[in-house]
Amino acid sequence: MKRTRLKLTHGLIAAFLGLMACEPELSCEGNWCGTAIMASSAEPEALLPPLAAYDVDLALGDLLFWKLADVGPESNTFGDDGFVPKLAEAWDFEDPTTIRFQINPQARWHDGTLVTAHDVAFTYEVYTDPAVGFSGRSRLASIASVTARDSLTAIFVFSRHYPEQFFDAVYHMRILPHHLLGDVSHGELISHPFARSPVGNGPFRFVRWNAGEMIELAGDSTFFAGRPGFRRIVWRFVPDPIAIVSQLIAGEADYLSYIPGIENITRVAEHEDLRIEQYDVGVYNFMGFNMRDPEDTSRPHPLFASRDLRRAISMGVDREALTQAVLGEYGRPLVGPVTQSLWVWTDDVDQISFDSAGARQLLSELGWSDPDGDDVLDHGDRRLSFEVIVPASSALRRRTAVILQDQLKQLGVEMTINELEPTVWNTHAMSGEFDAYLQSLAHDASPGSVAEAWTSTGIGGFNAVAYSNPRFDQLVDEATTTFDRDTARTRWKQALNVINADVPAVWLFTPIGVAGVHDRIENVTMPWDEYWKSIWTWRVARDQVITRDLIASN
């Protein structure tokens, strides 16, 4: 009995000591104590900037690796007006096709090594090597060479003179360390340990990656461009939409870049410690009509080869009602394949308005009628019926498809919905095996990315519907090569009128990003082209510091 009591006492003492030891050391002073926990539904596959494809990859990549310079708040991509220095402290055009960059001598890799022009030349080699697989390689096609004149001077030589030379030189590439990766074969870079444990040059340094769970970054207190606002950022990966929103509401996360669903936005907005931040995302949604027969892509599509039929279908879609139904106040109808964020945007373009009577009239003129009374129009032996493919992973596009189906049914158009796994959907989209597809495309700060998706050169790539109109191609070419911004605007407007008249797609809506942010986080700005790029300047308000902020870093 005595022995049992002694064991119990020892056990209690051990448990007490254990619990006492459960509190980690708390220490931090000053303005930089904040620890931000960012919730993300996706996890990066690697932390190698040339292979970043998703928002989370790009966001983490931009905190670890900086560009030479970046577009400024006005989002100008012409010349170098408004661009802000990053790793490059200065630059000038030596001649129309040569840009000289002066690397900031204070810039350092996180292992203490200087950032040099050799790193810049090496980065260009990596990004342009097909073995690496950088998806935007075509955007670097006009750069003939990048060399190091001396350790801090990088020279970009272009094969032609065009307005967005500077943009292409600085926007797409995050500078990589030559001294760490120079000996690695480019094709092996992605499987190199560096890709999961990188040494960067940005405001945050890599600390650790627990696969399937979290990535931790630490603010670099000696960062040459200024001390980051947070001393630590933890990215937590939560695939379940209910759990990710609950994490924010429970105070376990400080930030969620995209709140899924209107009901969750309301939940977050109503919470006293949280706020929502709206931001433009440069994404537009549309239903694209395949111009080719999915059975034999060398032939025109049996239905959608007819521009008038595409036009009639577009007239039958009430985009205002659809946008309201799927996004509420967090979306805007589109005027064409551009969002309001782009400087070429204008609503002064020819648009196809909702006109169901006009659509019926047009269909009737095209010979479509319903002699058998089955509520689906026929033309001889052909029914006005087609299939739209939708990625099953996208709740937004699934919902959009259902509403479109209902709206088109009123016209006598039968649209069947085929929800496919994302990988299968990709395969069908890329190989042209579809009648129509629901797509959500993103564009960066340059209208050039719009051109990539809709000109003939994009066929086989972004231009999955194989839309081709030489007039459109010519106008886009003129818009992207003129050095006069007003002329460029005029050409873009003309190009939009051409593509809108051709109706390769029903332009649906552009969503507005809605982030959930804890009130303790201040200085939050979210630039539309890369909403994450100012995260390094966010901070925790000094009077809102909580225990987790004070826990010492490793």
């Binding site: 399937g212 939560v238 759990a243 376990e252 299968v424």
Partner: protein
């Protein structure tokens, strides 16, 4: 016994090979190309796709791919993940401990709770307690595991704040904790996911155990024990329960595949960094080496689990040992 174990291990190896073969073929027959991506508008060029397909050996006929794969596996090489671009074993090795911890804790909850509930019901059949527990276990058994997870998370994490919503350990400060502190922190994170997975299993085990108990208490040895004047407690625990556990051991072996498949859903709801979630993502991305490599690992675990169940059965009931078979 040794010979029999060796035979069972060989049979197990054959089963694993069969599972690998089926997985290898089925994942390749599924539509969708692992390298053809167009997510939010970033398509890979046809040249690049052809290049990476060749590098991965996908340009070869499927039978050649298979022979090459099996030869590599025999050398201990599970290949490289298409998405993570690193050895599959490295990726699996990082995640498998989390899945095992979750599955074994759930198994513990399943059997401790299930056996005790079923035994209590079987000892007092048709009592109010039995009726109430029957309703409770049947209800619990009918609940989808992911739904139960969400409900428990919303109740105990979001509303009551007793447990963290997701993850296997604290993101911040974990490394500064003492060993005991780390264990407690991990337990704190483990309770809800393990309960979710364990409770549903326990409901099934309880039904099974109740039937086994009812069967046992009708046996002559229980009547004899009562006739000897032993207390009801001794009769139930020492005689009826002990004997009724034998059929339940069979459940132990059958639980492995159920737990591993159930952990996929629980890992997703609770952001648990395990193998299940990883495999689901690999299937979605058509990451063939990860899917096949994971099939090898899980099939091996299931085979070994079943072998362990057999051994436990032999220990519990020496009459079932292989060396006694010829006597029968």
């Amino acid at each position: 016994m040794t010979r029999f174990l060796a035979v069972r291990l060989l049979q197990g190896a054959a089963i694993v090979l069969l599972v690998v073969t089926l997985t290898f073929v089925l994942i390749r027959l599924a539509p969708g190309d692992p390298f053809q991506r167009m997510v939010e508008g970033s398509p890979a060029s046809p040249q690049l796709i052809a290049q990476v397909r060749e590098r991965a050996g996908l340009h070869l006929p499927i039978h050649q791919q298979y022979v090459r794969y099996v030869a590599n596996v025999a050398r201990g090489d599970l290949g490289d993940s298409f998405s993570e671009r690193r050895p599959v074993w490295d990726a699996i090795r990082e995640r498998i401990p989390a899945t095992f911890v979750l599955a074994f804790t759930a198994l513990l909850i399943d059997f401790v709770l299930g056996i005790s509930t079923g035994a209590a019901q079987g000892a007092h059949p048709r009592s109010r307690t039995d009726d109430a527990l029957t309703t409770a276990t049947l209800t619990l058994y009918s609940i989808p595991v992911f739904w139960l997870g969400v409900v428990l998370m919303l109740l105990f994490s979001l509303n009551l704040g007793w447990f963290p919503i997701e993850g296997s350990k604290s993101s911040i400060g974990y490394d500064q904790l003492s060993i005991l502190g780390r264990i407690l922190d991990r337990l704190h994170h483990l309770i809800l996911p393990a309960l979710t997975l364990g409770l549903v299993g326990a409901a099934g085990t309880a039904r099974y155990q109740r039937a086994a108990m009812l069967d046992a208490i009708r046996q002559n040895f229980v009547r004899s024990a009562r006739a000897k004047g032993l207390t009801e407690r001794v009769v139930i625990f020492r005689h009826a329960l002990r004997n009724s556990l034998l059929p339940t051991i069979t459940l132990f072996g059958l639980s492995f595949p159920i737990l591993l498949s159930g952990s996929v859903l629980v890992e997703t709801v609770f952001g648990w960094p395990g193998l299940g979630r990883f495999v689901v993502e690999a299937i979605e991305n058509r990451d063939y080496p990860v899917v096949t490599g994971s099939a090898i690992v899980t099939a091996t675990v299931v085979v070994l689990g079943n072998l362990l169940a057999d051994v436990l059965y032999w220990v519990a009931d020496p009459r079932t040992r292989p060396e006694t078979w010829s006597e029968g």
